[in-house]
Symmetry: C2
Subunit: 212 residues, 2 copies
DNA sequence: GTCTATACATCGATAGAC
DNA sequence: GTCTATCGATGTATAGAC
């Protein structure tokens, strides 16, 4: 796992202190985002929460967008960690279900984080290449889980992401924190694999059985 | 169709002039939203586009949120109109496909309108009961199309809306204006009806055939 | 690094004259 | 209804002391 701490000299108390403050600011930013919305974060409020004056924040972040970028990275790092901690499943298709459930639970845990990571409606904000790389890392893990279940074609992967995105979107929009649409996950993934069986009949039976 | 103009006295030139100005402001608001994003609408820019000073806008809208509400209503009115203009289809399932395509085309036409109507990420904005009623009217038309195809259970309707929401969400987020995910529509609706056939085997064969 | 102080442009919103 | 003038707040940024 890429770890931002790995590039910090822990033997230097100044560097440790600086990183602790940075983490404190990040935590406060999430708290403010939950209270006032992502766009509603005020740098003056944020500074006061961590016992700083507003201009001092610029010693840690170049701009508000840079703060969003760190939050985006933070969220993706947490998601990658969650994905890597997901135990492997001898049944590859069941492994895809595990993966889908993990992702959807993660989204449902924190609507603000979901919006930042997956909807990204903050005007003008684009993640930096560095933080976007973490998002790609997560995508890669999902790709491997699908490949293990025999799903490798782009159109099929698009189909899968579309189905999962629908669950997340409806759950977040219409029943945030609940489980009205999350409950459809197993059914929808089963529909997906039924479709795979139907469209890939040319696939070798042994390979298809192994993927199942 | 509910028509806002129906409550306006057209014989009164003052009322006519006022409503014309209101419509002019609404049109300018959409133009600005396309240029600067929904949250980026500036009341000063908006006022200057319709030859007014910024405070004068408050004679037409109580607040910026009230403007969003009128835009929300405007979008839903257009969607209901589109849905009502959709020709009936003798094949009920094909009628559902028609409906899905119509909705997805409508979303894809205007990403800003889509965000306002279906994602509603504007901090603090909630549609008024009056404008929300138009959204319900559209939902009702969709419900009838599904019912004609034999889909009446809430869980099945949730499944359908989830699938369509996924298409719209992915299309808007990852290929706005294109058709990468729209192209999955027929496949996904077919998957939906295959699932209906599978889960409702207790249904009378004649009724199922008729619904198809 | 952190502070005080200040500056600028922009925003939504309001008061009050006409 | 429309205006001018103004308010308080925002994000952003800089200068300069310590």
């Amino acid at each position: 796992m890429i770890d931002i701490l790995s590039v910090i000299d822990h033997s230097d108390p100044r560097a440790r202190r600086r990183e602790a403050k940075r983490a404190q600011i990040l935590a406060a930013a999430w708290t403010l985002a939950h209270r006032d919305g992502l766009a509603g974060i005020s740098l003056r409020d944020l500074a006061s929460m961590v016992e700083l004056r507003q201009p001092s924040l610029y010693a840690y972040f170049d701009s508000k967008h840079a703060l969003y970028d760190v939050m985006f990275e933070d969220g993706n790092r947490a998601l990658v960690e969650r994905a890597k901690a997901l135990p492997p499943n001898a049944n590859a298709r069941a492994g895809v279900v595990d993966f889908a459930r993990m992702l959807l639970d993660f989204c449902n845990e924190d609507g603000v984080r979901y919006v930042l990571m997956f909807q990204r409606h903050i005007p003008g904000f684009e993640p930096s290449p560095a933080s976007y790389a973490i998002a790609i890392e997560f995508y890669e893990i999902g790709r491997q889980r699908l490949a293990a279940a025999g799903v490798t074609e782009q159109a099929d992967m698009d189909l899968f992401t579309t189905l999962i995105a629908g669950i997340a979107d409806q759950q977040m929009s219409n029943d945030p924190g609940g489980d009205r649409y999350l409950g459809l996950t197993d059914r929808i993934v089963a529909m997906f694999f039924a479709e795979m069986d139907k469209t890939h009949t040319g696939m070798k039976a042994t390979k298809r059985k192994a993927a199942r």
